[in-house]
């Protein structure tokens, strides 16, 4: 059932994209008048048409295959484990909190909570591991590879990130 729902949603989404969203801006007049250019919407529209046909066939195949399958009910959706849903939520949340919180709090939180989700029971050990890995990754990417990791937009956290950066800079200059 999950597969069928996904296919139907994909089909509807593609139909919507075909009708309304292939082009976000009008084609330049000169391009539109030139008969020897491939218009910007032709390629994606051709792909969408092929996709609509293939997905329609796939939907028919799924229905035909599961016609006499008693397990083919909406209940099957419930089989998606809670643990997986939390995992998805954590990954999505991490991508959204990275900008406001910055690298360090996000990294500690992700390492700690995902560790718990994966069954780690030693909470203190996990907390220490989270902090240590955060420091190691910070040193590798920010200090050694000069990747400007996000500082966060919340003033207190941003100030903390700047404070850490100033310590790193002073250590670097002392070594050099």
């Amino acid at each position: 059932m999950f597969e069928l729902i996904c296919n139907v949603l994909l089909w509807l989404g593609l139909l919507y994209a075909y009708c309304f969203n292939v082009l976000e801006a009008p084609i330049p007049e000169r391009t539109a008048r030139n008969p020897y250019t491939l218009k910007p919407d032709v390629w994606p529209k051709a792909i969408i048409i092929l996709l609509l046909i293939c997905i329609a066939i796939n939907i028919i195949n799924i229905i035909r295959k599961n016609k006499n399958n008693p397990e083919f009910k909406l209940d099957a959706l419930m089989s998606i484990r809670a643990r997986l849903c939390i995992g998805i939520a954590l990954v999505l949340a991490a991508s959204f909190i990275l900008e406001p919180l910055g690298y360090m709090p996000t990294c500690v939180l992700v390492l700690f909570f995902y560790g718990l989700l994966l069954g780690q029971t030693h909470v203190i050990r996990l907390a220490v591991f989270s902090v240590l890995v955060t420091i190691v990754l910070y040193v590798v990417f920010s200090v050694l590879l000069s990747v400007n990791l996000p500082r966060g937009t919340i003033p207190e956290l941003r100030n903390f990130a700047l404070y850490v950066e100033s310590i790193v800079a002073s250590v670097k200059s002392a070594i050099m």
Binding site: F2, E3, C6, N7, A17, N21, V22, L23, E24, A25, I27, P28, T31, Y36, T37, L38, P40, D41, W43, P44, I47, I48, C54, I57, N58, N61, R81, R83, L84, G87, I88, L90, V91, L92, A94, S95, F96, L98, C107, V110, L111, F112, Y114, G115, L117, L118, G119, Q120, L126, F129, V133, L137, V140, F141, L145, S146, V147, N148, L149, P150
Partner: protein, 497 residues
């Protein structure tokens, strides 16, 4: 200067202990950079640039070439061990390398990856020294229609990636092609399929999507199933022994084919190592006697991808040195560094500064040989991580995925794209679609559409005329046959049954 003189002159560079030491250092740095997700070969060369500021031109060339070659190889380490392609060109390595690692054959997979990388790199280095002018002329005579036909041939693998699910694989590939359309169109920069999002105007960045679909999806799957990795509780030392001579002998023609294809693709401007590895993986799937085994963890898949992407590094150097045209982004960064050092790139290089060409050749040869030894050592260190319990390893992979996606463009939007790609990867898996086909469509989509548009305009909208050239025509006929054959054969098989 004869080829032999160039050969001798090139290797004499390594009599200087300083230069020899710099190569070893460059290999270590390049392999580690390549293994880190989000640090592409281009970024590795750019990060290596500051080291060369105080160097003489020849050690600088030798250093940068070594970083470039080893970063491409380094990408295979994390691709095999954690399903995180360190560089985009290592993405096809995950298809067979990761299943091998899960079966406890990480050592063999790494051995094949490193050995075939070295072979691909050596073949392309020899091609670079001996055939530079000829190869460049041949590559430059390729029209957009020819390049379209080559990429279309890569797409013809779609029906072969999963012969039991041809329709779903086709849908996945088409979806990848559609994702490649997101952003500005390649000819007129008209925005398409962005749904009003400013973050999608530049299109979907390859690395976040790859990391999301491969690495994040895998961690999410493990979260659901908590399947123990084959060597999770090993002693920690993963044996990186090379495969047997018999196994190498069994893939000798594969290595030869992928070395040649990789070198040629590397020469083509705008193509590069990623396209080369996907094309070779796809062509080997077609040519194999057991195509159904590809993707299940066989050495052929790892060897095809790794031979091709390293052969492309030498290929990219051909137009760079003989014409001053970079074959890819990393070659463009190298070009700026070499020009800074006073290297006169172009046809006069061989006349005025032959020692630079020979130094590049010698560096590629030495790097590709030394790299096997050095990279095995680094791979062993990385492999220790497999012994870490998954409750620690999983979160680290998620964090590496986040940083790797962010580091590509310093963009939070790329992190969101990575996270969404991870969830999409999970849905793809649940719906029995094929993530490899999706990535293939995404990788080849941009180059495919761009060249089709150009060929369409050049041939004044005459589609038949586009393929009247011998190269384009032949390749298109072969591609269509390859694309349709599995569908026809399965139809006949059903009829017989």
């Amino acid at each position: 200067m004869s080829t032999w003189d160039l050969f001798v002159n090139g290797f004499s560079v390594f009599l200087d202990p300083y230069t020899a030491l710099m190569v070893v250092f460059a290999i270590v740095v390049g392999t580690i950079f390549g293994a880190l997700p989000g640090v592409s070969a281009t970024m590795a060369v750019a990060l290596g640039l500051p080291f060369t500021y105080s160097m003489q031109p020849i050690p600088a060339i030798v250093f940068l070439v070594a970083v470039y070659c080893s970063s491409i190889t380094g990408g295979s380490i994390t691709a095999i061990l954690f399903k995180i392609p360190g560089v985009p060109s290592s993405a096809p390595t995950t298809f067979d390398g990761y299943p091998m690692a899960q079966r406890g054959e990480a050592g063999k997979a790494l051995g094949i990856a490193l050995g075939s990388s070295a072979i691909g790199g050596l073949v392309s280095a020899i091609a670079m020294l001996t055939l530079s002018p000829q190869l460049t002329q041949a590559a430059l005579s390729f029209s957009p229609a020819d390049i379209f036909a080559i990429t279309f041939m890569g797409l013809s693998i779609l029906t072969c990636l999963d012969s039991k699910n041809i329709l779903r694989t086709l849908i996945s590939g088409l979806f990848g092609l559609l994702l490649a359309c997101v952003g500005q169109d390649p000819m007129y920069a008209v925005q398409r399929l962005t749904f009003g999002s400013g973050e999608l105007i530049a299109g979907l960045e390859m690395i976040p999507v790859l990391i999301g679909i491969f690495a994040v999806t895998e961690v999410l799957k493990q979260t659901k199933e908590r399947k123990k990795l084959a060597n999770e509780h090993d002693t920690g030392s993963v044996n990186t022994k090379m495969p047997s001579f018999k196994e190498w002998w069994g893939i000798k023609w594969l290595l030869a084919r992928c070395s040649v294809i990789g070198t040629v693709i590397g020469i083509l401007p705008g193509a590069g190592a990623t396209i080369a590895s996907f094309l070779c993986y796809s062509s080997e799937t077609k040519l194999s006697k057991h195509p159904e085994k590809f993707g299940t963890g066989i050495i052929d898949g790892v060897a095809a991808s790794e031979t091709a992407n390293n052969a492309a590094t030498g290929g990219a150097m051909v137009p760079l040195l003989s014409l001053g045209i970079p074959g890819g982004n990393a070659a463009a960064v190298m070009m700026s560094a070499l020009v800074l050092k006073g290297v006169q790139l172009g046809p006069l290089l061989l006349v005025n500064q032959p020692e630079y060409l020979s130094a590049t050749f010698a560096s590629m040869v030495v790097t590709n040989i030394l790299m096997v030894v050095v990279a095995i050592g680094i791979a062993k260190v990385f492999a220790q991580i497999l012994a870490v319990p998954y409750s620690y390893l999983g979160p680290i992979i998620i964090m590496l995925a986040i940083i790797g996606s962010y580091a590509t463009n310093m963009s939070i939007a790329d992190v969101k794209i990575m996270a969404i790609a991870g969830v999409i990867g999970l849905i793809i898996s649940a719906c029995h679609f094929n993530s490899a086909a999706l990535i293939l469509g995404l990788v080849l989509g941009v180059i495919c559409e761009g060249n089709f548009s150009r060929a369409y305009t050049i041939n004044r909208a005459d589609v038949i005329g586009m393929f009247s050239r011998p190269v384009a025509g032949t390749l298109m006929v072969i591609s269509i046959l390859l694309l349709v054959w599995p569908i026809i054969s399965s139809f006949f098989k059903k009829k017989e049954a």
